[in-house]
Chain length 365, copies 4
């Protein structure tokens, strides 16, 4: 088990906006913290769905020429990060296919627990796979569905998968948003004038000036078309199971996730921690950027001064050159530098909310 998450993703979708691809570009830019490896946008002009995908940051890889080749008033987008060794363009999303139900593009945030079995079963039936992604499984189920309508085929296919999925789907004339019955991953619903917006975090709505309405509910299938917004709840009820890492680590503090302010949740967690684990110290220091809110809560509750004792360097390039000379804790130092005047000789409470196995935290300490 690695000291990192296997996958992080951000999804965005908009229906009924003259600059759908541009808005998706901005939405992905606001969601960039959820995945820095690859980015992609698909757009529909009512006749045809087109896709563009690239490795790297959305603001570095999409230019006005690329966006110009994605005309239409509906679009979806995806940012992705994977530590599973498969950082290939063929795994980037949206995945766009043509099938019996016409063209369909899909963005997926989450992991399916029965993907392997379904894939093996599909392969036995003659399906071909061009990526390692769970998402391709959903598309095969969709393509094989005999349902009469796109909506029914979507429902039929997602009913067969188990696990975490927040899906944003684009067809020629529809935007469909789906959230698994447990509600593992977030998916928010909003409006920008007459346009409908769905996205992983509300910070994407803030940037484009859209208003947050509510979350897509666990188990809800939301179909947006020229006929309006229709909500289907095809799944049997399931116990809620929000991914705790969304609030403590993934999401931006200015977002509402699972209907709650990320900042407030983190600050409260810090307060609770201070009550549960009181300690006599001189200073509370967050590991930036995600640890700041919790450290504030801790510091206030414990009445110990908060200090920015670690400074993050935000200019890390993609291929950082290591010196041959050994430099102590180089890997951590490249990102974080301790502030001697704050830390020297002090008893420090270090608040880090991105601990998985703790190996990085040990080096920081």
């Amino acid at each position: 088990m690695l000291d990192k998450f296997k996958d992080e993703c951000g999804v965005f979708g908009i229906f009924g906006h003259p600059e759908a691809a541009n808005m998706t570009y901005l939405g992905l830019y606001a969601l960039q913290h959820r995945g820095q490896e690859s980015a992609g946008i698909a757009a529909s002009d009512g006749e045809q769905v087109r896709v563009s995908r690239a490795m790297g940051y959305v603001a570095d890889t999409f230019d006005s020429q690329a966006l110009g080749q994605l005309p239409g008033s509906s679009a979806i987008g995806h940012v992705r990060y994977s530590t599973a060794g498969e950082s290939k363009l063929s795994n980037a999303q949206p995945i766009l296919i043509d099938c019996a139900h016409g063209q369909i593009a899909v963005c997926h945030n989450g992991n399916l627990v029965n993907a392997r079995e379904l894939r093996e079963d599909l392969v036995r039936q003659g399906s071909i796979f061009q990526s390692n992604s769970d998402t391709e499984v959903v598309l095969h189920l969709y393509a094989r569905s005999k349902a009469a309508t796109v909506e029914d085929a979507v429902v039929e296919s997602v009913s067969q998968v188990q696990g975490a999925f927040s899906l944003v789907i684009l067809t020629r004339d529809r935007l469909i948003a789906v959230r698994d019955p447990h509600g593992f991953r977030p998916l928010a619903l909003g409006r920008l004038g007459d346009a409908v917006v769905v996205c992983s975090e509300t910070c994407a709505m803030d940037l484009i000036g859209a208003s947050y309405i509510r979350d897509v509910e666990p188990g809800e299938v939301l179909v947006v078309s020229a006929a309006g917004v229709r909500s289907i709840k095809p799944f049997p009820p399931a116990p809620l199971a929000h991914c705790i890492f969304e609030h403590v680590y993934f999401a931006r503090p200015d977002s509402y996730v699972f209907g709650k302010s990320v900042n407030e949740v983190r600050t409260t967690l810090g307060r609770i921690l201070a009550r549960e684990q009181p300690v006599d110290a001189d200073v509370v220091v967050p590991v930036p950027d995600s640890g700041v809110c919790a450290a504030m809560g801790y510091a206030e509750e414990a009445r110990i001064p908060l200090r920015m004792g670690l400074i993050r360097n935000h200019y890390v390039g993609r291929t950082f050159i290591q010196p041959q000379a050994s430099i102590r804790h180089f890997g951590v130092k490249v990102k974080l530098n301790p502030v001697k005047s704050i830390l020297q000789g002090q008893r420090v409470v270090l608040v880090d909310d991105s601990i998985v196995r703790g190996t990085t935290s040990r080096k920081i300490v």
Copy 2:
């Protein structure tokens, strides 16, 4: 007058290290906040000085191949940002020339107030200029000096210029650091084993594991060669005049600048502000990243809770695409997003330390 500074720069130099160019690369990486437009490194192998310069971040534009073409045990480097409309490669530094005193490369942090007159005078005498940089003036004075030694020629040339200058100079066999008599710009001196290091801020020493010894003093010329370190003080005494923006805005809080902890200075400024300008409020919010320390000081002194009510997006690309649809305060929103749960209905003390004319601050408010 713009709402930004005309110039920001960071300089670095190392003498006597087997991986001089690699260490300079790391030093520039730590100083990247002082200039994101262009980066350059010059290195000497004792016979020849070579230079490599590029537009962009040091971690994006220098790779191991580029560094491999800069052999030698002494090197200097420069990062630069300019708002003066001249973001050209020909203005990037170090500037490397050949002249009567042999090869010399120069990195300059500062602005000369008599550069225009000196340039006009030099041009009248037949000098040619290939850039708009003040630094080329210093090089012409140096090349025309009849002094017998490199040191004397450096002293003779810098004695003729007025204004702010922290210079790091590399010749075939010497590293020379110069700081103007007023000490406008910082320049720190340190050691890494047997190697001598000079740099704008101590955070560059922290990354490579060097120890801070003292500042290069205002009016000091420091000559580092195989014979050791020699200090010359050729200038008449002048009143000290540290650039206040170093402490409030330019420098990283983990650095020591002008011999003081940037973090401490900022926090103290925040405290003083709270005493001088007390105000009844619910929450203190910094404009990140540079406003955080001062906001902490203010909050503590005023006993008002500190909250991260503005979130900075660090993924801004170099050519950000604007939508055609007008989005309110788009330019500010691309970088900063307000956290509604913190700000809504609250009386907010906003602490921003990068105000020049205040137009950006007005939009943030």
Copy 3:
């Protein structure tokens, strides 16, 4: 109908060579004239098949790092040019899929006449398509085949398609070459030491030092594995139908195509033309590069001097900037410039072998 061909492609495959990907890179470089739009290589290390594809010339887009990520002793490659408006990376080859028979990568030169019907049929059965390429049809047929062996599944799938196809196929442990029963497109077989080589033209063998043995015969399926080379002839006999454009236009004159020297065929065609269409003239001028051989034959037969009266510029960039000022015949001039001293006042026989509709030829005249 355009004045250009819809598709040109070159294919290459090698089995049993320690530097399979490198040799494929060189083979594609020699076949670059058959397609300059995209290039791709797939390689197998006996366990896993990996693929890398890119837009552009093979020598510009593949570097030693990219080739290093394609380990193994068998590899196939493809260069492609398409005028059908679909110059997308998703249409580049090889296409690599995973299916019931395991991983398979395919390179295809040719066009299938029943691809549309097969595709519609497959889509009805639930297949998904990620490109517009005919080749994906073959892969679906292969994946759906219930045949027990890879060879049988290949035979079963290609037996259902009609049209022109020279296929080079790579699985974990096999290289399979297939040529349609009519032999529309060329495919040559050779040896490089113990390694087996297949390629569109023999010039690819010349570059890597391989020896030409014979053509893969029309209707032949050649299976190369650790067990040796096995030839299957599963198709009923069909009338031979070599694509005439291979000899007059596509192929390089130093290649043997359909078992004959391209140079000889072209020179002979020029001779025949001179006999069939004799004309009183001062000079014979070829349209370079492909018209040179035929012009030589014509000139010799007609006993009229040959002169290089048109000069081709080989430095055309991918995004050539047109001036706003109208320049007569600019589009043609960018590639070809007439030599006044040869043409002025002369009666010219212009020999061009790349006429499809003749619009370009008219401008050249």
Copy 4:
């Protein structure tokens, strides 16, 4: 001594055309065969001279954005190739400087024999050098000239240099063309409507539709301004000394160089060679591309059939990857492939006009 030339360059200039930078771009494209390493364009809008330089082909490195930043109705350009190990951007041209006579940009084709002495002398007087180029010497002499006018300063500076120089010079309001008294390097003069054009070879005029008028004469200084074209002949007469490699190797056969058709000169050289060195053979084969004209002359005079027995691959990338396995004559094969059907068992006259030391020719044979 290498088996290649130290330097090849092409120069272009235009005065009085609304699209001066675009036309220069096209002119350089036509002259690309004279230098593929770096390209540069300088343009003047009557107030300011701006320059843009890049490594690589002009059609790859200049786009419409780069050309748009070079406004004005006069422009000059340069393509360069150097084998002297100094393929650096700082050696690319035009060199643009500011000096006592104002801004001046220079493009230089040729080598100065007294550059070293002049440089040493200038350095002693306090001049600084930023490149290794001979051209910087001319600029220093120009800047130090006390002459009252730009023309006189140009004449004064070029009067001090010896060797080969065809210069195209741009100031705020003038285009100046200079050719050394021996006329080593070519420089042609033409017209495009009201605009004046100068360039190394007439093929650049052909592409933009300009008409060749005459050569800039050896020893002539041509000053083009709003006042018209003025010719100065400031040099004492010198014996003519055209560089023979222009006609046999450098120039394109469709150009007029030194007032003669390159194609005709080469064909005649081939005829003379056939008379001087008759040999009993079956076939005459040129080494393409530059050997074709001479081979035609030889073949006709000797009444031996001409055949394209060597095929050149025009798709060579900038970083060609060599296989580890040794391939016989790989370096030559990458560019040239023998046509077996032409050469096998034949007595061949191989005509190559690019012999310097003959090491490459030996491999080809």
